[in-house]
């Protein structure tokens, strides 16, 4: 998988991310540290969505719900003075996995547009659940009293430490995705995307495999959510709003659906464009929209695919 151009783009991106804290410190622009952290967290979210959407062909329009579950787990734990990250984070992953089991079991009975609508509906349910949680800030959300504590290992109240923790979390997620999609399990997942009837005819009960993928993706998104809560020091229902799920889909499409590192490139490009364009005009979406359309029309494999298209055709 992957060719030389793709690999060099990815290496370049990660090298860039690795030195951002240095640059931010030297130029005294902590803002970029913040932006890059957000980029990496959403990259993990997009990577997890790509597992089911890109490799499984299952377009979930409710993936932000799992990010929300992860974030709320951290927020609610902190609210009750349970600040140990060793408990919070695994709990966030497990809970988002449990939600994914239930939601997946319901939505995977359908396909195509029905699947999209059901995942959307279930995620909106979570959004309104968040809104109705008055004890935890309801509509307004809830400030995170204290970041997750990893005493005595590391101290993520230090922004640089948090940055590199997220950096390595992203690297790990990428590595995990790589192993996953190339394993036997990954082949089954891709086979079912390509031709589900054929899969059944050669003897694969596809449902169980797809549900498992759905749960893995949910857990990974929940992990991103735990990171996000610590990054923003704040949780609110907006994290689960359907437009957030839409953003994740756009990141995956923009970067290259079904390519390993595409979602990372997509998330980076998305947030960078958002940042640049909103600096130019308040109506930045007016420019962003057409750009997206062009990207989808002319770069079928996403940005990552676009820059390496020629090579792929040759080999």
């Amino acid at each position: 998988m992957g060719n030389k151009t793709q690999i060099s783009i990815v290496v370049f991106v990660f090298l860039g991310l690795a030195i951002i804290p240095l640059v931010a410190q030297m130029t005294d622009t902590p803002f970029y540290l913040d932006l890059a952290r957000r980029m990496m967290i959403l990259s993990i979210g997009a990577l997890s969505l790509n597992l089911i959407m890109g490799y499984g062909g299952l377009i979930s329009f409710g993936h932000a719900a799992y990010i929300g579950v992860g974030a709320y787990t951290v927020g609610i734990c902190a609210e009750h003075d349970l600040v140990s990250g060793f408990i919070q984070w695994p709990l966030a992953i497990i809970l988002s996995g449990l939600f994914a089991v239930v939601f997946g079991a319901i939505s995977l009975r359908t396909r195509g547009v029905y699947f999209i609508m059901i995942t959307l509906a279930l995620a909106q349910m979570m959004y309104f659940l968040g809104v109705s949680l008055d004890r935890y800030g309801g509509d307004d959300g809830l400030p995170l009293i204290e970041r997750s504590s990893f005493e005595p290992l590391i101290d993520i109240t230090n922004n640089i430490v948090l940055y590199y923790l997220i950096f390595f979390a992203l690297l790990f997620s990428l590595f995990l995705s790589k192993r996953l999609v190339n394993s036997r399990f990954g082949m089954v997942l891709q086979g079912a995307r390509s031709n589900e009837t054929r899969m059944k005819a050669i003897g694969f009960p596809t449902f169980g495999y797809q549900l498992t993928a759905f749960v893995i993706a949910g857990m990974m998104a929940g992990f991103a959510g735990a990171l996000l809560a610590n990054h923003t020091d704040f949780i609110n229902p907006d994290m689960m709003h359907w437009t957030r799920s839409g953003d994740l889909i756009i990141m995956v499409l923009l970067g290259g659906m079904g390519s390993l590192a595409g979602p990372v490139v997509g998330a980076l490009a998305f947030l960078l464009l958002e940042e640049l364009l909103s600096g130019v005009t308040e109506y930045w979406q007016l420019i962003f929209g057409p750009f997206l359309i062009l990207a989808v029309l002319f770069a079928r494999g996403g940005l990552l695919g676009f820059f390496s298209a020629k090579e792929r055709e040759n080999g």
Binding site: R184, F185, M187, A201, I202
Partner: protein
């Protein structure tokens, strides 16, 4: 006495008012090639779909090696050794020929909840896959993506995938459909290699192929069996001539 591997008893399927399979009884003996012929709309593909479990039957029973499989799911039937091909070629277009077949091997090598080792480098999967690709004569196209194969090659690939599951019985739905004379001949040769070793239920329109391959032929018209017998008997059968072979048979 030859044992029958597949027994179909009073199988029925209707679509609205159309009877696609009408109280059909069929028995396929172990190790034989049993062809089913009949005009368009005779219910041949419906029958294969019922046998493979893609379509639910209205009534009737299907026994595979003495076991009632009428209520089993498609994957379960495939795991018992019932492999099918499709009239409209059905492969994994994005995968290479080898990946296509390796996935079929994988389907019958325990469960696939294995998340870590790269499947493409597992000799356990690629070696048997390479072997079946050779059987169908695709050994020089191993790394070609399925979408770049010719129509005929894709059909060969499908047979190879079915064979890779080590089936006890093959259900072939018009393997020569849409093929030129040369490609058809090649396919007949592949199937001839399997004759005697592999139990096959063959649906085919190409009469030359059917008479060259089949040990036994069943003629289906409007979902009903009108005759079953050896190729010789079918050729001689008056009812079959008028119902199906028609003009073509009169000329000879």
């Amino acid at each position: 006495m030859v044992r029958s591997l597949l027994e179909v008893c009073s199988l029925r399927k209707t679509f609205g008012g159309v009877v696609a399979t009408d109280n059909l009884n069929l028995s396929v003996e172990q190790g034989t090639i049993h062809a089913i012929i009949g005009p368009n709309g005779a219910g041949k593909t419906t029958l294969i779909s019922q046998l493979s479990g893609l379509l639910e039957s209205d009534s009737g029973k299907i026994y595979f090696d003495g076991m009632d499989i009428s209520n089993l799911s498609t994957p379960d039937r495939a795991r018992l050794g019932l492999a099918r091909t499709f009239q409209i070629t059905s492969v994994f277009q994005e995968f290479t020929a080898l990946e296509n077949v390796a996935l079929a091997v994988q389907a019958h090598d325990g469960h696939s909840f294995r998340f870590w080792r790269p499947a493409r480098s597992e000799i356990q999967l690629t070696q048997p896959a390479q072997k079946t690709l050779k059987t169908v004569g695709l050994d020089d196209r191993v790394d070609t993506p399925a979408r770049l194969l010719s129509h005929g090659e894709r059909r060969q690939l499908e047979i190879s995938m079915a064979l890779a599951t080590k089936p006890r019985m093959l259900l072939l739905d018009e393997p020569m459909a849409g093929m030129g004379a040369e490609e058809s001949r090649r396919m007949v040769n592949i199937l001839l290699k399997l004759k005697g070793k592999q139990t096959i239920l063959l649906i085919e329109h190409d009469m030359d192929a059917v008479f060259a391959l089949a040990d036994k032929i069943t003629v289906l018209v409007y979902g009903r069996e009108i005759a079953t017998g050896s190729p010789k008997e079918i050729r001689a059968d008056e009812e079959v001539r008028s119902a199906y072979l028609g003009d073509e048979a009169d000329v000879t």
